[in-house]
Amino acid sequence: MSDNGGLALLLLGPGGSAGLYWVLYRYYRNTDKSHAFERETTVDAKPVTGADSKVGTNNGTRESSIRGNNVNEYRHRVARMGNESG
């Protein structure tokens, strides 16, 4: 067995401990829960418009997804283009 495989096996114990603690803590305390307004509010959206243009390539990377992938993290704010409130 490779060194990496052995190390991963040895991490099974601490990882399992932390994982079980984390799951049960959240199950009892529900600190991860909040109003899921993204899916529980009536939203009437017009068809999404936009543009896509190829700007380059990212060849030979070892990462399986784009760095900083935040497509599902709706609530994590990124830089603002400008804010006009009516």
Binding site: V23, L24, N30, A36, D44, K46, T57, S64, S65, N72
Partner: protein, 430 residues
């Protein structure tokens, strides 16, 4: 706007994460020991889905026969069922404010009278002279909106709009009865008792649950959002090296991605109490009360203090201007979720880098929403744990304090078991 005036809703806890779907746990209960598995697999308290047709259509049904052929008794605020002749009181604000209509035509900021700015010097104590016996009766609007004359038992209610934030535009009366709320809390805690704090279990008396009307702003909004970033599409996947040195590499095309979406939002509820709006899970459990949203606000009726008899209430202490950043934040989150389907071709994901929001119009109505609240003060940590039941849908959520040593022991035991298996495998293969 000064930072200190803005309520803290971005605590270090996880409400910044999109909450998991109902029933999503992150672990398969079948792999866990029986006591834990049994708890996880017990049924949850049933909640009425607010997307259910009977609530969404906003039909105000006769409470006796559920007929919808309801007419106003001429000259009064009494409603009468044309089917069974049952009479009752209550005008829906949906018609009164045109709430839910004309979302597409919203412009600027429209604020209903009960949502206007709070006057800092407006008194919260109101004294009435009893018309029955002449005695003076005082109502403290911080926590109650009705009072009974202690001499002649005449009941008073604050029905006129006082500019202190205590009188909203509308109220959504309780539908869930106390015995139902108690049963739901008992069921919820029954699923979480193995690792619960011993003192919590000993003192658990769900009959002490209290009905509370909490202040919210219900917001309709019309907005447009622009989001920009980069997305990647995988063009090739290959490995180099052999054996244990084998490494996987990916080639991808990089795209600049721009998206624009115009949308309207109907009845978004925002906490309008500074304290309740603080969702910092490291210091409070207000996220529990936040989780039982939404309510069927379409069925809210015009303000009448009579609905608050024998209930507590909390006064609104936030104005529209202070809630605007939270509205912007939630609208941006909604926009981001709306554009997700349009970027599915980017199989390596998208990194959004910039986002912009233009709120074209918003309409604000203040409302008291009904919550059954059970609380437990954990003395050592000073944490107040809530178990809350939505007074309309019955949705139940709670924070159950944990017996730390018991949970740690269980986690360490599970870890030791896994570790011994790992060592046994390593010993056999080396």
């Amino acid at each position: 706007m000064s930072e200190s005036n803005t309520p803290k809703f971005t605590g270090p806890g996880s409400p910044r994460d999109v909450p998991p779907a109902p029933g999503e746990l992150g672990v398969d209960p079948r792999n866990l020991p029986p006591p834990i598995r049994d708890e996880l697999e017990k049924p949850d308290p049933v909640a009425i889905d607010t997307t259910a047709r009977e609530l969404k259509d906003g039909n105000n049904r006769c409470p006796r026969c559920a007929a919808t052929d309801i007419r106003q008794k001429p000259g009064t605020d009494i409603l009468i069922c044309a089917f069974c002749r049952h009479e009752w009181h209550g005008d829906r604000v949906e018609e009164e404010f045109g709430f839910g209509e004309g979302l597409d035509r919203l412009e600027g900021t429209t604020v209903a009278s009960g949502a206007r700015d709070i006057e800092v010097d407006a008194a919260v104590l109101r004294t009435f002279k009893c018309t029955g016996c002449g005695a003076e009766v005082t109502i403290n609007m911080e926590s109650e909106m009705t009072a009974r004359c202690h001499w002649c038992r005449h009941v008073f209610g604050i029905n006129e709009q006082v500019p202190n934030g205590a009188v909203p535009d509308a109220v959504l009366p309780f539908h869930i009865r106390k015995d139902d709320a108690v049963a739901r809390i008992r069921q919820f805690v029954g699923k979480r008792s193995f690792f619960a704090l011993k003192a919590f279990k000993e003192e658990f008396t769900p009959e002490n649950v209290i009905p509370v009307y909490l202040p919210y702003m219900i917001v309709d909004s019309k907005a447009s959002a622009d989001i920009a970033g980069q997305g990647e599409i995988q063009t090739r996947k290959y490995t180099r090296g052999t054996g244990k040195n084998q490494v996987t590499y990916y080639d991808a095309d990089v795209y600049k991605v721009d998206r624009h979406v115009d949308f309207t939002v109907d009845d978004l509820p925002l906490e309008s109490s500074r304290e309740r709006g603080n969702l910092d899970t490291s210091s409070n459990t207000n996220n529990i009360i936040n989780t039982i949203l939404p309510f069927d606000t379409k069925n809210a009726v015009k303000w009448n203090a009579s609905y608050l008899r024998d209930c507590s209430s909390e006064k609104r202490d936030l104005n529209v201007v202070l809630l605007q950043p939270r509205l912007d934040d939630q609208l941006l989150s909604i926009a981001r979720s709306q554009v997700e389907n349009s970027v599915q071709r980017y199989d390596r994901g998208v990194r959004w880098e910039q986002e912009g929001l233009k709120v074209l119009g918003s309409r604000w109505v203040s409302m008291y929403l009904p919550v059954w609240l059970y609380s437990y003060q954990q003395t050592r940590k000073g944490m107040l744990h809530y178990i809350a039941v939505n007074g309309r849908t019955g949705e139940t959520m709670g924070s159950v304090p944990i017996q730390q040593w018991k949970l740690l022991l269980a986690a360490l035991t599970a870890g030791s078991f896994l570790e011994s298996i790992a060592i046994w495998i390593l010993a056999r293969t080396s």
